[in-house]
């Protein structure tokens, strides 16, 4: 039955239609827009590759923003994924009140990009905020988190990290798939809990680590709410992620053509990085289930 090509196609048909209609058309349109100058009020004017030319040659803010974005992604993604993995690992033990902890740890993700999260975050990282109070208790000079261009990005990174819930849920799932007998074998081999984690758990869930890394990278490149609500891109554009720049160009400066061009550059970067990750995954992602896929 599963060899029936027509039947299979019939099932994906809605998807194909949906993609064509709801995704591909806007895709193409935005791509077309990126070759125009369009300010919403007046019809778009075809200007060829000018937007792209300007973007790569005359736009220091793009470079700055790209740099910030890259740094953000490079920091936030491993942090979120790492933290999610760590917590999932801890939660994987049989513990009293595990359901409570699971829900508690997912809570920030439910909060999403709400005002509450923004207000709170500004509070935590304010000069006299909780973070600095804790730091000063530890004998560390308070840091002007939101004002110092070297630290401000960290508030955004930490917010991103804090909402690690969905990555955690996926990890929890994966961890439960690691056969307990491997841990027992390792225990008999004399591996400590830490060694078991790094030498058994981590290698075995690389497919999920990989999956999460890709998904979170895609997310991180599109991160908007955090910097928009907390720092508004500042100070000195130190948290001016590309998505913010695209937003400003498109909806504040009414440069929709330019915004579209920026988007497509971002798309190319994410796509390129994903492709690279997929290729590199051959070397570090371990698919244990491959042999059994017949059954």
């Amino acid at each position: 039955m599963y060899e029936n090509r027509r039947l299979g196609f019939l099932f994906v048909l809605p998807f194909v239609l949906g993609v064509l209609m709801f995704k591909l058309f806007p895709f193409v349109m935005s791509f077309a827009l990126s070759f125009t100058e369009y300010d919403v009020m007046n019809p778009p004017v075809w200007i060829g590759a000018d937007n792209y030319r300007q973007l790569f040659t005359q736009d220091p803010l793009f470079n700055k923003s790209l740099g910030v974005t890259m740094f953000f992604v490079a920091m936030a993604v491993p942090l979120r994924v790492g933290f999610a993995l760590f917590i999932a690992h801890v939660l994987n033990f049989k513990l009293r009140g595990i359901n409570f902890f699971r829900s508690a740890f997912y809570l920030p993700s439910i909060l999403g990009g709400s005002i509450a999260a923004a207000v709170l975050w500004r509070f935590l990282f304010a000069q006299q905020g909780l973070v600095n109070i804790v730091l000063s208790k530890l004998g560390i000079e308070p840091i002007a988190w939101l004002a110092d261009e070297h630290y401000s990005i960290w508030t955004v990174i930490l917010l991103f990290t804090w909402q690690f819930g969905s990555a955690m849920v996926i990890f929890l799932a994966a961890l439960q798939n690691v056969p307990t007998s491997l841990y027992e074998a390792a225990e008999i081999d004399g591996a400590s809990k830490t060694q078991q984690f790094f030498r058994i758990t981590v290698p075995l869930i690389t497919p999920v680590i990989f999956f999460n890394l890709i998904m979170q990278m895609v997310h991180a490149f599109q991160e908007f709410n955090g910097p928009y609500m907390i720092t508004e891109g500042g100070p000195l554009h130190s948290t001016y992620l590309l998505s913010l720049y695209i937003y400003d160009q498109s909806f504040k400066l009414f440069n929709l053509g330019y915004g579209a061009a920026l988007s497509w550059v971002l798309f190319a970067i994410v796509g390129g990085l994903s492709a690279v990750s997929f290729i590199s995954s051959k070397y570090w992602v371990f698919y244990a289930g491959e042999k059994d896929n017949k059954r």
Binding site: S181, E184, A185, A186, E187, I188, D189, G190, Q195, L204
Partner: protein, 382 residues
């Protein structure tokens, strides 16, 4: 150095289930001990307590003389082979073998030497660079054993290591493991082995001594032949041997011909020795036991005449199973089913009989057993 001593060992699982009830057992140094029993009888639990994977709720466990109740697995000097092998799928065979040694900080050169040594012993030098998923079942099994060997443990623990293999492979790996154990012992390496299985064939062929378990208690510990010939109770008698011993409800009756075992209303005359020991049971119900090979199918075969205590009775054929060299004949005595095991060459005319036809069998009553009717059924003739 590596004897294993269990004293009143108990296990209560966190959910309150008591899996092991005060087990006492001595496994001698270098001995190959088999734990056998039906599923759920706590074989694995016991083994895992010895390994240190499961906490001990009561009693004392000694390995090599010292109490290890609360030691971590790695401090117990044991190695374990798991049912599903539990090979690290992300490591090559070489690294699977070397993992434990490396963790304990063994020098590189020695790790290499020991890994290669084990590989040679198990004839798997050519597999060292493969990943587990590139191995066949039998090869994976050997790697699992290899991983245990390199550690040069005092005690090997095996938890049904062959049950995932197919019949043919299982038979050959069985021989291989037995030979390996003897080789190691001859080389003077300490190699006490405790082997868990639910397959009585494995138990019989591999075990130097066998410990039969049921519901977390030991039924009998002895060498294979003793278990087979002198089972302590009906449970052991039924569990050991294939096809199963015929164990049927019966009554001891005394008539002018002497004492007889009445099964399905058919009286089977008992030898004097048996009758004497069963005197107390006359007129009472008990369980009668006779192994299939002690029922003769072809009464005209040479040598049958010389058999003592042979009782001839007619049975109704149900069907026969052909095993090549031998045949299992299923028949009813009265309405009690019996199985007879006969050499394929000495079948006589039984083969040509059809379902429902009558055939005369010979019961070698000298080999018969009698068990208490209730509970595990103590062997009344011991």
């Amino acid at each position: 150095m590596a004897q294993v001593h269990l004293q009143r060992i108990e296990k209560v699982y966190p959910n309150g289930f008591k899996a092991v009830h005060g087990v006492d057992l001595d496994v001698r140094e270098g001995e190959f001990m088999v734990f056998v029993g039906p599923s759920g009888c706590a074989k694995s639990t016991l083994l895992r307590m010895i390994a240190g994977l499961e906490s001990i709720s009561g009693g004392e466990l000694r390995i090599g003389g010292s109490v290890v109740n609360n030691l971590a697995p790695k401090q117990r000097g044991i190695a374990m082979v798991f049912q599903n092998y539990a090979l690290y799928p992300h490591m090559k065979v070489y690294d699977n073998l070397a993992f434990g040694l490396r963790l304990s900080g063994t020098p590189k050169a020695e790790v290499d030497a020991r890994v290669r040594d084990a590989a040679r012993l198990l004839e798997m030098d050519h597999l060292l660079e493969r990943y587990p998923k590139q191995l066949s079942g039998g090869q994976a099994q050997r790697v699992a054993v290899g991983r245990a060997i390199v550690k040069k443990p005092g005690v090997f623990l095996f938890d049904e290591p062959l049950s995932n293999l197919d019949a043919k492979l299982r038979a050959s790996m069985r021989v291989r493991l037995t030979e390996l154990h003897r080789t190691l012992r001859e080389q003077g390496r300490a190699s006490t082995a405790i082997y868990v299985t639910h397959d009585q064939v494995e138990a019989m062929t591999m075990g130097e001594r066998i410990c039969v378990l049921k519901d977390g208690t030991i039924q009998q510990v002895d060498v294979p032949t003793a278990l087979y010939e002198r089972p302590a109770n009906a449970f052991v008698a039924g569990f050991i041997g294939s096809p199963e011993m015929n164990i049927r409800p019966a009554q001891v009756a005394v008539s002018e011909q002497g004492a007889a075992m009445a099964v399905g209303n058919v009286p089977l005359a008992l030898p004097a020795g048996h009758a004497q020991r069963l005197a107390a049971w006359v007129g009472r119900g008990l369980r009668f036991g006779l192994r299939p090979e002690h029922i003769v199918a072809d009464l005209s075969a040479p040598g049958v005449d010389q058999l003592t205590d042979l009782v001839r009775v007619d049975g109704t054929i149900r069907f026969t199973e052909h095993m090549g060299s031998e045949v299992f004949i299923h028949f009813d005595l009265g309405d009690v089913p019996f199985t007879c095991r006969a050499s394929a060459e000495r079948l006589g005319d039984v083969l040509h009989k059809r379902r429902g036809e009558r055939h005369r069998f010979g019961f070698q009553m000298g080999f018969s057993h009698a068990f208490e009717p209730e509970g595990d059924g103590r062997n009344l003739l011991l």
